[in-house]
């Protein structure tokens, strides 16, 4: 359906990009996004947003304990994305990547600033919470209708969705009976049922087992070709440079770099490489996000537990090896089970 109402001229925009005639698809102007967090006591409360807990930890210090807290997840971010561009968003855990996507998709209203969109936008991810008490079948219908499809369109694509999710006869059981992987697969399958004008992919490549990951990657490729503009959040530098021609680097809710993906990824990598020895970055900045990174590396069995101070004593060769590990498998960097 989205293919039909795509504005004229959105195909073949690729060649024009960068020139004066480029047609903007997304304009983000000075946005701030503030979360309200409840029950923000000293020990930090379980929150669905990893980044809020990280940012909150920073904000928490030296403040009296109170019931609620405002978290500035995005601060004064501006950019213009043209039709046909695919844009990667990089940054550490908690830098506001997912929040920015939600803001651009119109799911999280910005507290300040404006977001302009051309056409429909949808967030493709594994976090789309559907109704866990209902069967997969009902969820396919509800999800499809929520994406703006008609009941007939959902019925048409029903078999395809179920087949793609690969959950078989479990489709007739309530989603609460699904394993987390199955649930994520079905959600992914539903969210790819419609092709939007602006597509946002939030680490969706990390869904499910190896087989499903390969299939979902292929599916994203297909949608990417059909969708006008694509945003991709990933921790994998390789994915960003392969799939995107432009990248945004977020750091603690601020946009620090915006340019061709190779350049940005290179700068990002260098920044962390230069930071590592001797804990070059003093203060809080160096501490935020470190526990998560460490955890990820454990998963990737690199066992590089004590970065920072110890990193300084490492011989140059080993440091380089460590750098390479940094860009290693997504699975190692993300916290997959």
């Amino acid at each position: 359906m989205a293919e039909v109402d795509r504005p004229v001229g959105s195909t073949g925009e690729q060649e024009q990009r960068g020139s004066e005639q480029a047609v903007p698809a997304v304009i983000v102007s000075h946005i701030d996004i503030v979360y309200r967090v409840f029950g923000a006591k000293r020990r930090g409360v379980a929150s669905s947003q990893a980044q809020s807990s990280v940012v909150r930890r920073a904000l928490n210090r030296g403040r009296p304990v109170s019931g609620t807290r405002d978290v500035r997840a995005i601060q004064d971010v501006s950019f213009v994305a043209d039709h046909g561009e695919s844009i990667g968003i990089i940054g550490r855990n908690g830098s506001g990547k997912s929040t920015l996507l939600r803001g651009v998709a119109g799911l999280l209203p910005p507290t300040k600033g404006e977001v302009y969109l051309n056409g429909t936008a949808s967030l493709l991810g594994v976090n789309a919470v559907l109704m866990s008490s209902l069967t997969g079948e009902r969820n396919v219908m509800i999800g499809g209708l929520a994406l703006g499809l008609t009941p007939a369109q959902v019925r048409d694509r029903y078999d395809e969705i179920v087949e793609f999710s690969g959950i078989g006869e479990f489709i007739n059981l309530p989603m609460s009976a699904y394993s987390s992987g199955m649930g994520a697969r079905l959600r992914f399958a539903i969210s790819t049922a419609a092709v939007p004008d602006v597509l946002m992919v939030d680490e969706a490549l990390a869904t499910g087992d190896a087989d499903f990951r390969a299939r979902s990657q292929k599916r994203i490729e297909q949608i990417r070709e059909q969708a006008g503009t694509v945003f991709l959040v990933s921790h994998s530098n390789k994915t960003i440079t392969q799939m995107c021609d432009r990248a945004l680097w977020l750091e603690r809710g601020r946009l620090v770099m915006d340019g061709p993906s190779e350049e940005v990824v290179e700068a990002y990598r260098e920044h962390f490489a230069s930071r590592r020895p001797g804990g070059a970055q003093p203060g809080r900045g160096g501490q935020i996000g470190r526990p998560r990174k460490t955890k990820g590396h454990k998963g990737g069995k690199s066992g590089k537990a004590g970065r920072g101070a110890e990193g300084g004593q490492k011989p140059a060769g080993e440091r380089e090896a460590a750098n390479q590990r940094e860009q290693l498998p997504e699975s190692a960097i993300r916290e997959w089970p």
Binding site: I27, S78, G106, E114, L134, A146
Partner: protein, 302 residues
């Protein structure tokens, strides 16, 4: 944050940006639409109408799922209110006799309990329609009023079997079927519209301040005792004209009076009651919709 500068890596200049005015101008030139803001009321209603199938599917699926996780399943939709009527009848019909001024007290009580039950459920669930669905809100874009609307619609759909039981109960307790029974569906619709309006108000207020969710329980309990669920307001307020008027014309009391007038032969149909009821059924949903729409750009932030 004190150390803004320290948090920013030293490399890479922040890219040059357009000012807000330039951005707005660029958006206008290329026909981009601003998102994350409140649309016009007209647009909002049109968007909601577009999502009607979503609303209907969500509501019917949820009302079905409600009684799914036990052995008797959908039978509980009927059993629950019947058990409640039995226990209330034991307390208020026998132990503390509040049946004065009512002839067919069992039928009177049943109507009160069945209908107020759906008001209570709508309000307690509806006030969390936004804050309880943040996952859905942050994943999909749709007019947020679909969520509170779906709460009251779910409640209505899941009560349809109970309303059928109510009719059977009327016959069992000796009420003769009459032409006035045709008003019963009208009374149900008025009752449901009143609930819808209140849910819309409650959902936005609780989103603004979560602490209010705790007050909703108290309000529901208060309403249960002042709306004449198990006693006749007219009988117990004799001699207090003003109090009687306030108590009997408030929307929740009328929500019980109208179906009673339709079904019970001892209470005649009073046109004034129906007119006031109809006025509430228009005012509350319209007011609630406008009130809820005005907060549209605040939903989802938590």
């Amino acid at each position: 944050m004190a150390d803004r500068a320290a948090g920013r890596p030293a490399i890479g200049d922040p890219p040059p940006v357009l000012s807000s005015e330039e951005a707005a101008e660029l958006a206008r030139r290329h026909g981009l639409r601003q998102v994350g803001i409140r649309p016009t009321l007209r647009q909002y209603l049109a968007d909601t109408w577009q999502m009607r199938r979503f609303l209907l599917t969500l509501s019917s699926a949820e009302s079905y799922a409600k009684n799914q996780n036990n052995h008797l399943g959908q039978l509980w939709a009927v059993l629950n209110p019947l058990l409640l009527v039995a226990s209330y009848f034991f307390i208020f019909g026998f132990l503390i006799n509040t049946s004065k001024g009512v002839d067919n007290y069992l039928a009177f009580l049943a109507i009160g309990i069945f209908l107020f039950g759906s008001t209570a459920a709508s309000l307690t669930k509806g006030c969390r329609a936004i804050i309880g669905n943040l996952g859905l809100i942050r994943a999909l874009r749709f007019p947020r009023c679909v969520l509170p609307l779906s709460v009251s619609l779910t409640e209505f759909i899941s009560n349809v079997p109970a309303f059928g039981v109510l009719l059977v109960l009327m016959l069992v307790t000796g009420e003769p079927p009459s032409v006035a029974w045709l008003f019963f569906p009208v009374a149900l619709i008025i009752h449901s519209l009143v609930n819808t309006g209140m849910v819309l108000f409650a959902a936005r207020m609780v989103n603004g301040s979560r602490d209010l969710a705790n007050l909703v329980n108290m309000v529901v309990r208060l309403l249960r005792y002042v709306s004449g669920v198990f006693f006749s307001i007219d009988h117990y307020t004799q001699g207090h004209e003003a109090l009687a008027a306030v108590l009997s014309y408030q929307p929740f009391a009328l929500g019980l009076t109208l179906p009673r007038e339709a079904l019970l032969s001892e209470t005649a149909v009073h046109p004034l009651n129906w007119l006031v009821g109809l006025a509430w059924a228009i005012l509350l949903p319209v007011g609630g919709m406008i009130f809820f729409w005005r907060g549209e750009s605040t939903y989802g932030r938590g």
